[in-house]
């Protein structure tokens, strides 16, 4: 048994023989848990996941002999865990509303029974290896949990459980490995969080991750297995964007990691998700969702761990053949946790106090996203990573944002001026980008409309043109613009208000199906084209701008539901009939003049 030498905030120096780097230890009378981060002669440095208040030099230290690991098995969905995968509901029962220290809680419920159905081919004498499916349990109504052979296990089955109810500690199979030892397999296994889980091979899918948000899906698409970042200053609506993705994404499993953010935001999810319906499965959203919460007032070292804990759990569902989305809010707080520990270690700061390894850690984390063929080659799954970034002062050139920007492929930049005008989601169409658009294009062409790519390009060019024209107006006034230029401004304003703005609180508009997204864009661009012709024929822009259609077109998003596209079509027909009449009038007038 070792002893504590020094206590300095979350860092504790211990004297302990035979301890390994990365090993977990329990400290002092309270039994606080920490992780060895460096060794020096006979002492080791430990970062502690809990507050070290009242810890004294001389107190005992016990090495736990394993690295920071998570338990992977049925019972994770619908749960909320802390940064080191302790279930917060159990902690609430044990210690009341404030989190006590040194609690020993198993991550997964030991008492709950699950109905286990063995896989067809499960038989004595059969060889099974890492990643293969031993059987299934129905974890929630929608999600079938596939019990996997732990990655590093391989051997012949000597005994296995029949169909029936089991607790997760029960042995469901025993295998004889090549060293002739018997390994007992349960419904769960441990995996160290800092080691990516193995897979057979990477694949490249072209399946977009649909979020029902027009600015994201149509303009800056993300693919399943992709990596995206949402940077934005405070108040720009990062959390709302992240929550909307968690709500509506067409993934099988959604994991929301609240890393150093507000407690109330997690409560919001916990309270609203059970009541919301997943548009893809028709079931309660909470059945496919789980959370990791290290709020801003919880210990900073556990914040650093929470990201890895989250991504390891995401990989585990990927290995079962599911498409998983992990939303991390916010990676900046994770980077700050790194900085805080580095600062206390006296490591040389490079940019804004961040350690030199910031970029490589970020890259390694995002690299855990991807589409894979699972280890046992029986299926494929994906992990999509979406990280919020909170740049100080909204300055995108700061280290975390700039490093992240180099790693990710979809960048949803949030803009303060848009948010100030309550233009939500405040995703800037000039600063955002997506490298996946070419691959997304084929999906949209096949499933929605082959004009998608063209329309998208056209709408974006109108928006950028309008930005340019507005600069001119601000210098010399609107009189300097030609009629057709003023019509571009008008259309851009329709696109912004009618298409890009989307209310998360509006029941109809909160989720917009791909077909509706395209239809809306189509109507608006057609409106623009028709208006352009009318202007050529001599119709004044003011008259067009004051047409009642102008207001109606901005409201279609919240008038027609995703199932009422034919009504929307009828509405559009009426609208364009009216405009055609106008066109005929003007054309007639022009002929008379001629």
């Amino acid at each position: 048994m070792g002893s504590i030498v020094e206590v300095n905030g979350p860092l504790v120096t211990i004297r302990q023989d035979n301890i390994r780097n990365g090993e977990q230890v329990r400290l002092g009378k309270l039994g606080l848990v920490g992780e060895v981060i460096s060794l020096h002669q006979d002492t080791a440095l430990v970062q502690v996941y809990e507050s070290t208040e009242s810890l004294r030099p001389g107190e005992n230290v016990i090495g736990l002999g394993k690295q920071l690991s998570v338990e992977l098995g049925p019972g994770m969905l619908g749960q909320i865990f802390d940064g080191v995968q302790r279930p917060l509901n159990r902690i609430l029962e044990m210690s009341g509303e404030q989190i006590a220290r040194g609690l020993e809680v198993p991550s997964l419920d030991r008492e709950k029974t699950w109905h286990f159905v063995p896989a067809d081919k499960l038989a004595v004498g059969q060889q099974v290896c890492g990643g293969e499916i031993l059987g299934t349990v129905q974890e929630t109504e929608t999600i079938q949990h596939r019990i996997l052979v732990p990655p590093n296990t391989c051997g012949d089955i000597v005994e296995h459980a029949c169909e029936g109810d089991y607790k997760i500690e029960d042995i469901i199979a025993s295998v004889r490995n090549k060293n002739d030892q018997i390994e007992h397999l349960k419904m769960y296994h441990d995996w160290p969080v800092r080691t990516p889980r193995p897979y057979h091979s990477r694949t490249h899918s072209a399946m977009p991750l649909l979020t029902g948000q027009r600015i994201l899906d149509t303009f800056f698409p993300l693919l399943k297995g992709g990596k995206a970042a949402v940077p934005g200053p405070f108040g720009a609506g990062k959390t709302m964007v992240q929550q909307q993705i968690a709500r509506w994404a067409n993934a099988d499993i959604v994991l929301y990691v609240g890393c150093g953010e507000r407690g109330n935001e997690l409560v919001d999810i916990l309270e609203t998700f059970p009541e919301l319906t997943d548009p893809h499965s028709g079931r309660s959203l909470m059945e496919r969702t789980f959370l990791v919460a290290n709020t801003s007032n919880m210990p900073v070292v556990a914040r650093e761990a929470s990201i890895y804990v989250g991504v390891t759990m995401a990989e585990y569902y990927r290995d079962q053949g599911y498409d998983v989305v992990m939303v991390a809010d916010s990676t900046s707080r994770w980077a700050e946790a790194l900085r805080e520990v580095a600062g206390r270690l006296g490591q040389m700061p490079v940019e804004e106090g961040y350690p030199a390894y910031l970029a490589s850690r970020l890259a390694a984390f995002y690299e855990r996203a991807g589409n894979v063929n699972t280890m046992a080659k029986q299926s494929s799954g994906s992990v999509t990573l979406i990280g919020a970034v909170s740049p100080p002062g909204g300055d995108f050139s700061e280290p975390v944002t700039s490093h992240t920007k180099e790693i990710i492929r979809t960048f949803w930049a949030l803009s303060k001026p848009l948010a100030d005008a309550r233009h939500y989601p405040a995703v800037s169409w000039t600063e955002s980008f997506s490298d996946y658009q070419d691959r997304a294009q084929s999906w949209w062409a096949e499933n929605v409309d082959h004009k998608w790519a063209k329309h998208r390009q056209y709408a974006l060019s109108l928006l950028t043109q309008a930005d340019e024209l507005e600069r001119i107006v601000n210098l010399v006034g609107p009189e300097a613009l030609s009629s057709s230029q003023r019509w571009v401004l008008e259309t851009a304003s329709i696109l912004k208000e009618g298409l890009l703005q989307q209310s998360a609180l509006d029941e109809i508009d909160s989720y917009c199906s791909p077909a509706k997204q395209f239809k809306m864009m189509d109507i608006m661009l057609r409106f623009h084209e028709t208006g352009k012709e009318l202007i050529k024929l001599g119709a004044p822009v003011e008259q067009l701008a004051q047409l009642p259609e102008n207001g109606k077109i901005r409201r279609i998003k919240s008038v027609f539901t995703n199932d009422q596209l034919s009504d929307m079509e009828n509405f559009a027909e009426e609208l364009f009939e009216h405009l055609d009449c106008m066109r005929a009038e003007y054309a007639g007038a022009k002929e008379v003049q001629a």
């Binding site: 020094e6 300095n8 009242s54 210690s95 009341g96 509303e97 989190i99 507000r262 409560v267 805080e340």
Partner: protein
């Protein structure tokens, strides 16, 4: 408590004492420091090892020498005695009376650092608080259990606004008053006096607990003061079932004290010399606001901070904005136009408003009206901008209407007297009166039905 006193000081600098010989002091342990005159000072262990202890002294180390300074370890963390008698009293940062009355004696003591609230124990804040101020109620509603800071700057009337909120805040259908915990750090004597007289004249003094640290009191005490105050607030809210409104001023002084001490300790600075842990440290304070399931009481927090050189991207307002649930930003421009309260509408925000307003709490049109006012005012500011370049005469008829709307919005909606209290219905009706200056087709955030019901557009006007 250990009876032994140790004489082991090896160096004294600023507010820090270095002691040799570890004596196995616990981190965060409280110590009593006796100087050569027999005066006792308070300190706290901030770093401890087998052969060295670092102590932070709340009253500074001025006048201490290395020879005649004795240390006694008290074997306990910083704790605050709690009792209902705290109401109506005034304390310093470590809970000692400032009002020449006896100290609080109670068997109930709590560690001032608290412990993080389990997120799954929180209840989501939803109940609308009516502050009687249109620019807050109408546009950035405060709800019970929210933390909504006021971002101000030197010379702006944030104290008057805070006092007005304290005076008027109530639930629309509930007459029970809030209990106030007032925490002042590094404030001037006149500011402290302003609040004292305010509380006295409005008759709420009996429901106020004050914690005061003046500008010439030791900065070290500012670090513990908000924690002490919030420990008292938690006691009032969760033990005594009160709804507590915590007003903290001025968080900038707090953060500066933190920087001062961090520099003394030799912590690696990040932005503008503030330590890297400023975010976590501020969060420990702000996150103590909230509601807890199955408890009647609640803690609503209004921290006031002054933005150094009016810069909202300065680390203090910036990090605060990332933690709190919105912000009320004050504007120097409106203040110079004599608009009170000078609430700068575009950057102000209340994140919890979405669930606290509407049919169930205020009126069904409230969320749409707020969004419409924002959109129209932003549009109007653009028109005003344009007018300043090309002249108001050159504007189109539509833009001129917006210009008119901007003036009316500032002078009638935002502006209201310090003693004017508008209930939420009055605020919403006023909003529709102003929106009626604009043609209906320019209002895309409100529904057609709401336009029918509330909008009184007069084409000929």
């Amino acid at each position: 408590m250990r009876q032994v006193e140790y004489k082991q000081v090896t160096s004294a600098r600023g507010s820090l004492l270095f002691l040799k010989g570890g004596n196995n002091a616990a981190l965060g342990e409280r110590v009593a420091i006796r100087d050569k005159d027999g005066q006792i000072r308070n300190g706290q262990v901030i770093r401890t090892s087998e052969d060295m202890v670092l102590v932070q002294v709340f009253e500074s180390t001025a006048n201490l020498d290395l020879e005649n300074t004795w240390i006694r370890y008290l074997d306990q963390p910083f704790e605050l005695p709690l009792s209902p008698d705290m109401l109506g009293r005034n304390f310093n940062g470590i809970g000692k009376p400032r009002d020449n009355r006896p100290p609080i004696v109670s068997s109930l003591v709590r560690n001032v650092n608290g412990a993080p609230i389990n997120p799954s124990a929180r209840a989501y804040p939803k109940e609308f608080i009516q502050t009687g101020v249109s620019s807050i109620d109408g546009l950035n509603s405060l709800v019970r259990g929210q933390k909504l800071p006021v971002f101000s700057a030197s010379g702006l009337p944030h104290n008057r606004l805070a006092a007005q909120i304290v005076r008027q805040a109530k639930l629309p259908d509930d007459s029970s008053n809030f209990v106030i915990v007032f925490a002042a750090m590094g404030v001037s004597h006149s500011d402290a006096h302003f609040f004292e007289t305010e509380f006295e004249s409005s008759g709420v003094l009996r429901n106020v607990v004050m914690f005061t640290n003046l500008a010439n009191d030791p900065p070290m005490e500012r670090l513990i003061l908000p924690r002490t105050a919030l420990t008292a607030a938690e006691y009032l809210a969760y033990d005594l079932d009160h709804h507590v409104l915590v007003v903290i001023t001025d968080m900038t002084n707090y953060a500066e004290a933190l920087r001062e001490i961090a520099t003394e300790k030799g912590d690696v600075p990040s932005r503008k010399g503030y330590p890297g842990y400023l975010y976590s440290d501020l969060a420990e304070i702000y996150e103590r606001a909230g509601r807890v399931k199955d408890r009647h009481g609640s803690i609503t927090m209004i921290p006031i901070l002054s933005m150094p050189s009016d810069d909202i991207t300065h680390p203090i307002p910036d990090l605060t904005g990332y933690i709190t649930e919105g912000q009320i930003v004050l504007s120097r421009e409106l203040h110079s136009k004599s608009v009170y309260p000078p609430v700068n509408v575009p950057p102000s925000l209340s994140r919890l408003m979405k669930d606290g307003v509407g049919k169930e709490f205020t009126r069904e049109d409230h969320p749409h009206v707020a969004s419409q006012l924002y959109a129209s005012y932003t549009r109007a500011l653009e028109a005003r901008n344009l007018a300043s370049i090309i002249g108001a005469e050159e504007l189109s008829g539509r833009d001129r209407r917006f210009l008119e709307f901007a003036d009316a919005f500032e002078n009638r909606f935002i502006m209201q007297g310090e003693d004017t209290e508008r209930n939420i219905i009055e605020t919403l009706d006023l909003a529709w009166e102003l929106l009626s200056l604009l043609p209906p087709e320019s209002l895309s955030r409100v529904s057609e039905a709401e336009i029918q019901k509330y909008h009184s557009w007069d084409e000929t006007r």
